[in-house]
């Protein structure tokens, strides 16, 4: 509960103050993953399709696609839609 108390409460308006700051990054959804996708940068043609189609914002674009494994849920939509099959996947080992 100590985490909850960090957030202030606006008693005049009667609502909790919840700034739009992407604070859900605390939830490490990467622990849900069963299959782990990995990008082979030698094959990658930087077409941006995986970045566009990733539903969970786990692929960011830094001149090339970079997978953030803290949030990747392992749906493998990126691997299935890669036109040059540059994204391989294997069973997650924890």
């Amino acid at each position: 509960m100590s985490k909850v108390l960090k957030y202030s409460y606006d008693f005049e308006k009667g609502v909790p103050v919840m700034p739009a700051n992407a604070s859900a990054r605390k939830n490490k959804t990467g622990t849900w993953r069963i299959w782990k996708p990995e990008i082979n940068y030698d094959k990658c043609v930087k077409c941006k399709i995986c970045f566009t189609l990733c539903p969970h914002g786990a692929i960011s674009w830094k001149g090339k696609p970079v997978i953030d494994y803290t949030f990747c849920k392992g749906c493998l939509i990126c691997a299935d839609n890669c036109p040059v099959k540059a994204i391989n996947f294997e069973r997650e080992v924890k």
Partner: protein, 314 residues
Amino acid sequence: MMHMGGCTGLSKRKFNTFKDVPNKNLIEGGTPTCPGCGGELGLKLALKVMGKDTVVVNASGCMTLLTNWPTTPMKVSLIHNAIENASSTATGIVHALKALNRKMNVLCYGGDGATYDIGFQSLSGAAARGDDFVYVCYNNSCYGNTGNQWSTATPLYARTTTTPIGKKHRGNPLSRKDMAKIMGAHGVYSATACTAFPLDYMRKVEKAKKFKGLGFIDLLVNCPTNWGFEARNGIEIVKKAVLTGIWPLYEVEGGRLKINYDPGPGKFLPVEEFLKSQDRFKHLTKKEIKEIQKAVDKEWELYRAGQYWKTDEY
């Protein structure tokens, strides 16, 4: 209801290739949606077009899960409201922003239950009044959040928990209603889209944003949990819905219909390819598949003949 005028400034096509997709995500990781969620993908792509100065109005549904207090994945404002009055809330926000003299976009994001069934009267009212916001309906053809109940967006013979399979029952006995045509009849900008064609979808959001009045987009999204398929095949399956002709891509501007994808007579894939890929259509017999194929073929004949208002939706 043609008083809102046509679309303005539409000649410039902004999203021609994937390289034009903005690099910044306005919705970030850590969301509690199912892996491979199409609804979240639709919201992510819509926000890329709408930009940072946007208020998202969320009708109750799967996307309510996004902002579990005290965390939010959003980088823009989001307001929750009941399932039936998302459009009324958006109307209020549009007028409040006008009174405060602030230029912000309003994006209303609701599921097919909130759009086709429960929230229809408030949406129709907002369209008739000409309130200036974008409404995107993420259509997964059922009430997904409460566990796959029947909605009027559910296609013919689909299995849901309220239209089960048995000796007498063969899934949904009714065909779905065509929301984009109903909204097109209001005289607003109305279009259908699909997450498998993200650039087409983003162009349509851009058009709806520029349209003075309500812009409506009916977006077909995949739902791995309720349709019954592997999450990785999601995009491929909704793509097949377009390639088989089951989900026609069109837009209605000022009462005129424009078909976005039509390969020509007899060039669509057989509907079986779409139906056999999911568990909700697993029970279909050959006779039932033929019936669906016949309905789809008839619909496209009418589209090609220009008999837009006579089409009988599959």
